[in-house]
Amino acid sequence: MIKRALILIAALAGPAWAHKPSDAHLALAVDGDRITGRLDIAVRDLDAAVGLDADGDGSITWRELQEAAPRIAMYVQDRLAIAGDGDASCPLELGDASLVDLSDGAYWALPVSVRCAAAPHQLAVTYRLLFDIDAQHRGLVHVAGQTLIVRDAQPVHATLGESTSIASFVRYGVWHIWMGLDHILFLVCLILPAVFQRRGKWAAADSLKDVTREVFEIVTAFTLAHSITLVISAVGLVQLPSRFVETAIALSVVAAAVNNLTRSIDARWAVAFALGLLHGFGFSAVLIDLGLPSRELIGALLGFNVGVELGQAAIVLSLLPVLYAIRRTLAYQTLLWAGSGVVAFIAAIWSYQRCFI
């Protein structure tokens, strides 16, 4: 009796834990009606749940795990359920598991894929693994930038913002370039003169091919530049104050427009590249405001960038034929000179407002 007491008192004196309690992670990415993800369960927990250690020697081998895979799958199918809106159940499919080493040992990494009848706005996750074996077990459900802690067999609910899928980030990207007048005006200013080139003196371009190539160069330079800064600032490597970024973007529009009036820099792709670096910082601010899902950061970045490029390509493709068609007319000259002047003026006002107000 006393011996037992003393063993306990020593533990009481200072709980010295070399491990953390049992957690399992269910990471889900929602893309429309498809949900994919992975369930990571500690191998040690699986041993308690379904009995992995066939020979009872205390060592669990990969072979023993593979032999137990069907039992593990049944165990998970039995105890994990995902439902969409109105608790409409979404059937669960399990893939071939591999292993992943987390901070406290090896976990069984089980790919999960779910298809709901309709794209859900809310997910209900019923997670009932292991609680009957380990009352301190927690299921951590990572979805839509949130982590839900499951402590018992009760379902947990996640409301899905529009921002959860890569597709929705593509939409945000398109939307942002279309709504963000400063990016469009910058780009338009750069491509306006493309149909009116210098051949010793200024003259209307004679070949659509040359024009297209020049526009392609400008757009590519802009894309590369803003992608670089978007990536490095979205992951937090470089962050600039938003007032500075917004003012600089407005000034970049002034610069592009004034360049059309003064014709001082002919290599507009270089302008596109240099000033495009600023625009990337602006894009990343938008992306961060959207609530960047930390677990799907790269996907969100790619999706958003693809959206920006698509939106930009749509503008350029619809503008270029019109410009080419009217390149010899007074309308074009008016657009080039007066348009650039007006843009320079408006952007100058933006610069003032963004900097001082």
Partner: protein
């Protein structure tokens, strides 16, 4: 076109850097793999104990057999301690699941439930269960010892004294002395407490576990008296008895840090980073000594804090506050943590921590609960007085 090549290289570079930076920001998923060798050992678990398997089978056949559940839960609690793995506390709790929520479970269940609650820092629930159990079984030394600890942690010293007195009836004098001495010291009589425990230890030949416990207690009393050198001797002796005594190792690290021997602490704790309260001390030592592992250890500690927070645990507030104060240097946050910790546990170590955080944050008023506590108990502690001066 050359600029495009440069731009493309720049973008590739940015993406590469991003793919390294993103995990820090995102705790991104670790890489999965499939072992090439089917006989590769993936994880280790305690070797199967045939008797336990039989008992578990018997329990699931007749789930009402409380004596089986108690036996199994007790084995898991022992395992939690010997493997330093709190996972087995949750298993013990689950084994007792049928009785866990009962207001009046059988006495053996009460004791185990209190032990688990205590380990989860649910001191209120543990105390209720222990009081209940002691009303039923006043001579249960284990219950009395546990109650003495819980009551001390929650600053209910009369209850702790009553339990130590009850223990004296049924256990050897050295056990009762080790129970009683810290209470005397907290009441301002550290010198007498030290002498009486030292005498009780000298006059007995307890088994190593009791001896180690008494030595650690003696060391704590020596620290209160301002004799860090003697404390170090006692703790070194405790570690010779049992190198796995994490409590003694942590206390020795504190003594060495107090005496400015950060490199020594780093060596003392090398290889023990698995254990939370040793990791935090090694991180502090490397930070102070500007050691080569300072950044890596701090990162590890940050990860551990984040992992605990992710599952909603606040069991490690003391360690977190220590770390935030000493390594992050964020005194305001450390103060908030130390205050929250003080609301849960009120040992001398917690008092020192709160005082140190308040002084560092330039907000001595925030340590009012400790000042009031010290005035009420009459405690004298050399470390606390050094911090406060």
């Amino acid at each position: 076109m050359r600029v495009f090549a440069l731009g493309a290289v720049g973008l590739a570079g940015a993406l590469t850097i991003a793919s390294f930076a993103a995990p820090n920001r995102a705790a991104a998923a670790a890489k999965t793999y499939v072992p090439r060798d089917a006989s590769a050992v993936v994880a280790r678990v305690p070797a199967r104990d045939p008797r336990e398997v039989a008992e578990r089978a018997a329990l699931s056949a007749s789930p009402d057999r409380v004596e089986l559940a108690v036996e199994l839960a007790h084995a898991d609690i022992q395992r939690a301690r010997s493997l330093q793995d709190p996972r087995y506390l949750g298993r013990a709790q689950a084994t007792l699941g049928r009785w866990w929520k009962l207001a009046e479970p059988p006495p053996d269940v009460l004791l185990l439930r209190a032990t688990i609650e205590q380990s989860l820092h649910d001191f209120g629930a543990a105390r209720t269960d222990l009081d209940h159990l002691i009303a039923l079984r006043p001579d249960d030394a284990q219950a009395q010892l546990t109650r003495a600890v819980v009551a001390t942690v929650t600053a209910d010293y009369p209850a702790a004294r009553a339990s130590c007195a009850a223990i004296a009836r049924t256990t050897p004098p050295v056990v009762a002395a080790a129970c009683q001495a810290p209470l005397d010291a907290l009441a301002g009589h550290a010198d007498e407490a030290y002498r009486s425990l030292a005498a009780a230890l000298a006059g007995s030949r307890p088994d190593p576990a009791v001896r180690g416990w008494a030595l650690s207690t003696l060391a704590e009393l020596a620290i209160q008296r301002g004799d860090e050198a003697t404390a170090a001797d006692h703790l070194n002796e405790a570690l010779e008895l049992d190198p796995d005594d994490a409590y003694a190792r942590a206390a020795l690290a504190d003594v060495m840090l107090e005496r400015g021997d950060a490199p020594g602490v780093s060596a003392l704790l090398a290889g023990y980073e698995q254990i939370d309260n040793l990791l935090v001390r090694r991180a502090i030592a490397e930070h102070r000594a500007h050691g080569p592992e300072a950044a890596a250890l701090a990162q590890r500690m940050h990860e551990r804090i984040a992992a605990a927070a992710e599952r909603g645990d606040r069991v490690h507030m003391r360690e977190e506050a220590m770390f935030v104060l000493a390594v992050d240097g964020d005194a305001r946050r450390a103060l908030a943590l130390a205050l929250a910790n003080w609301n849960v546990q009120k040992e001398l170590a917690d008092a020192r921590l709160l005082a140190a955080a308040a002084v560092a944050a330039g907000d001595r008023g925030a340590a009012a609960p400790v000042v009031e506590w010290a005035a009420r108990t009459g405690v004298h502690d050399a470390r606390l007085e050094r911090i406060w001066k």
